[in-house]
Assembly symmetry: C2
Homo-oligomer: 567 residues x 2
Amino acid sequence: MKITLGRYLWERIREVGTRSIMGVPGDFNLQLLDYIFEVEGLKWVGNQNELNAAYAADGYARVKGAPGCFVTTHGVGELSAMNGVAGSNAEHVKVIHVVGQTLRMMQKNHMMIHHNMGERPDHQVHNKSALHVRVDAAELWDTEKAPAEIDRVIRECILQSHPVYIFIPLDMVWEEVPANLLNTKIDLTPPVDEEAEKNAVDSIKKALGEAKTPALFVDGVTRQHGALEAARELADVIKIPTFSSAWGKSIIDESEPYWVGMYNGKVNRPGVKEVMEQSDIVLVLGNFPSDLNTGSFTRGFDQKSTIYINEYDVEIKGRKLSGTHIKSLIERLATAMAGTALSRRTCAAIPPWPPLAEADSTTLTQDWMWCRFASFLRPYDVILADIGTAPFGVLQNTVPAHTHVIAQVYWGSIGYAVPAALGSELALDELHHETGRPRGRTVLLTGDGSLALTMQEIATMIAKDGVKPLIFVINNHGYAVERLIHGEEAPYNDIPPNKYAHLLPLYNHPDSAGAFRRVETKAEFDKVLQLPALQGDSDNVQMVELMLEKMDMPWMIKEMARLRPGA
Amino acid sequence: MKITLGRYLWERIREVGTRSIMGVPGDFNLQLLDYIFEVEGLKWVGNQNELNAAYAADGYARVKGAPGCFVTTHGVGELSAMNGVAGSNAEHVKVIHVVGQTLRMMQKNHMMIHHNMGERPDHQVHNKSALHVRVDAAELWDTEKAPAEIDRVIRECILQSHPVYIFIPLDMVWEEVPANLLNTKIDLTPPVDEEAEKNAVDSIKKALGEAKTPALFVDGVTRQHGALEAARELADVIKIPTFSSAWGKSIIDESEPYWVGMYNGKVNRPGVKEVMEQSDIVLVLGNFPSDLNTGSFTRGFDQKSTIYINEYDVEIKGRKLSGTHIKSLIERLATAMAGTALSRRTCAAIPPWPPLAEADSTTLTQDWMWCRFASFLRPYDVILADIGTAPFGVLQNTVPAHTHVIAQVYWGSIGYAVPAALGSELALDELHHETGRPRGRTVLLTGDGSLALTMQEIATMIAKDGVKPLIFVINNHGYAVERLIHGEEAPYNDIPPNKYAHLLPLYNHPDSAGAFRRVETKAEFDKVLQLPALQGDSDNVQMVELMLEKMDMPWMIKEMARLRPGA
């Protein structure tokens, strides 16, 4: 029996756990989109533009654990999405970008078909532009070889946890391939040297056993490579003082007594640094030493007293062992450490910071707001904070277990979070239906500056069943973090004013008046957080506009800005 | 005396006629933006996102004739804009994309600064991604060499009429260079072989003189290379039957008796093709044989009876002459032809098509609408038609002299026209104040599908003084041209519904109720076109929503779709 190559592609995408396909239709992908509807369980989610599609696929992938997938058309579509894919590349996110290309005869003859450049256009030139934002690509041309190529790059996407491209000329999507190719599943086993992993486990176990004041530090790469559960288990087995980076936030259950706090070099809640500095050995999982993830490079570990478990290798007090894989190694280590006696410190719980002061002042302030916000969160919530003031507000506080804090700590593209919240909602809904786990909320935190870049994706949210994020917009009249860095009063840090009360009705929200609130005082903020609609009891998007002063910022961003290189 | 390199850059940009600088601020360009305010006459126009900035710069360049310029920040910003720059590259538009990069010490040390990718990031990697969408780039690093590099790429931008990049590490913008470098203006003389041009003129003159039924065909490249006035003059001197391509539309004064019509191979108003086919020689200016510019490749000229004046060469009945430049050559030819007797045909005027039928039916239809629309236009108007149904409606009709019809005929990126209309308005205002020519209107024609991609740029329009385009939105419930191509009822061709009455108030329009109209019938359309606000008597954005049926399309797009390759 034969099936079309288009169908084959979507069957493979479904096989690895993806259900929602993002994208924008275009004349070189329309027939490819038809085949999505032939595959049971797959769902087409059209986006408002291609950058938004890329962001949505990224948000979906982070929450679902399966690859995010989106489809664009030749040239115009694929280039529009590039910044989004680059973000997935920077932050180890599994994304498959499927590009519907011009027909092969058009390519061979260098025809001046629209969406190309030049008088004898190379139709593959856009593919070259994307070379630097992906780890692999299937450049389909030969129908016989195409299925294996598709399998190969899906595998690379998952094993490397990075974006890949699939370029498919339109006239290939209806070509036929043997259906029984699907009988063999894509092999997703990471290449691991068993012997190396055993040696690594022994060495780590020995080093930890010899330590008097060992500590565990969990960074974000851990989650991206599927090692989240393993890391939680390990932490729970060894029960030594445990920290996270900004990116590693919410991997570890912060209600456990061994949890200390987020450690960011010189930028921490008071008390955290002191506990870290008393450690004679630190076990670091999935280290990622970028500027905003290290308190502006003020976090560093002494090689002689550090054990790094990286993606594909291990570094024990400066000695490197290769051939390991972060997920399987942490799993093995957790098993090996079970029942092992370790020297354990007891640490006093670190109090929230800053304290809930100024309760008598009515004006809403960021530091007060984020402290109050902490108690609003619930297990299984996804907190999506667009880069700006929000991440530095939300990261400072304790979050419930099984939450997922997402901020683009490295790539830092403003506008990312709105479409990513769409992806997150689709993923949360799928996870709830597939696994029965509680349906968490997507809590989107963005600023007026960031929202402007991608706001149209709220239309998609409103139109799609089961998508109902809570959108908090920090309205502080422009680009606040930029004002902090340079140009506090400069006109380039202003943005055109918005009347957000019109945003939900513009996109046809069924209860646009009821779903929108504007908050100016602490009391109003407190009250809004208690509304049933914000507790998850709603069927559609909820929006809260937070009126804040221009230069009011979370303490953490002020510290980070002060310490940044070149400042 | 010394000035900063940042100041130097903006002085040079101003020197070549640019006044409005588009872009989005980011932490690696803020100090560079400060210097804009030091240069008299320059104006910062912040955009809502980077793709929109690129589109706005493109629209500005097309209308102003001077380079469009926009500024982005490292990584996230430059990549977001890439599709816009590629469009400028495809369509020969002068755009300067200035990228504020990370500091040189960060680059040298491969620091993990945000907006980069990888653990030892190459900060220049985004520059490589943009290699294929530009003709040149200044990669600034050495302060002493930087001014000459800036001069060089501005020159290349203008002479090649294509986009260039200027990459400037943030710590270079405050470095100092000699102010007197500015005393020597950038040399913008195109390299021309005088002898070759004289020969070419003689040969063309001879060939035209020998012809019995010569014709002139004007294509879009002519305008992009500054040869618009020259082409008009030539047409007026030789007075032979004159045609344009889709892209060449509005270069020639269509009220002249020698004007025949737009010639698009098999896709024309009845009568046009017949006149063209009677020609024994065709003088083609700035030929651009892309699919949508040739009636889906049904327009072609016989080499033996064609004279091509291309950008840098001439082809006379198959014989090639190099070393010419389209602008100077057309100028020379116009001078040489003055007073020359040519065999001239008299052609009957081609009537409008389709006729203004169905006047008794109240439902608004595209074919009726575009015929009525033709008489709404005035000299010096810019008509910006986003790719979709609009260009194929507006192009079929006669337009007044000195109008400028802009549609992305080759690159075809939907969403382009909204930000481009911002650029157009800024340029029209500048041209009016600088030259005293009448202030035309920017008439933006877009669809609900296209508008969704970039709608936030309307906020910028509303906030900026002197920006007041007329926005017509064809609301036909999704992607109409795609429905025509494939998937008439497919869900991927639907978009989330909009209530456009909320769009202007969302962006704080001072008279949002008065400036918005919804049109459902022919009578309403007719009435709206006569409103004083739409005649130019307004201070801010005016918006008209046109309710049209899903599958109602201009006859021309139906023909083009039927004839397209692979259909």
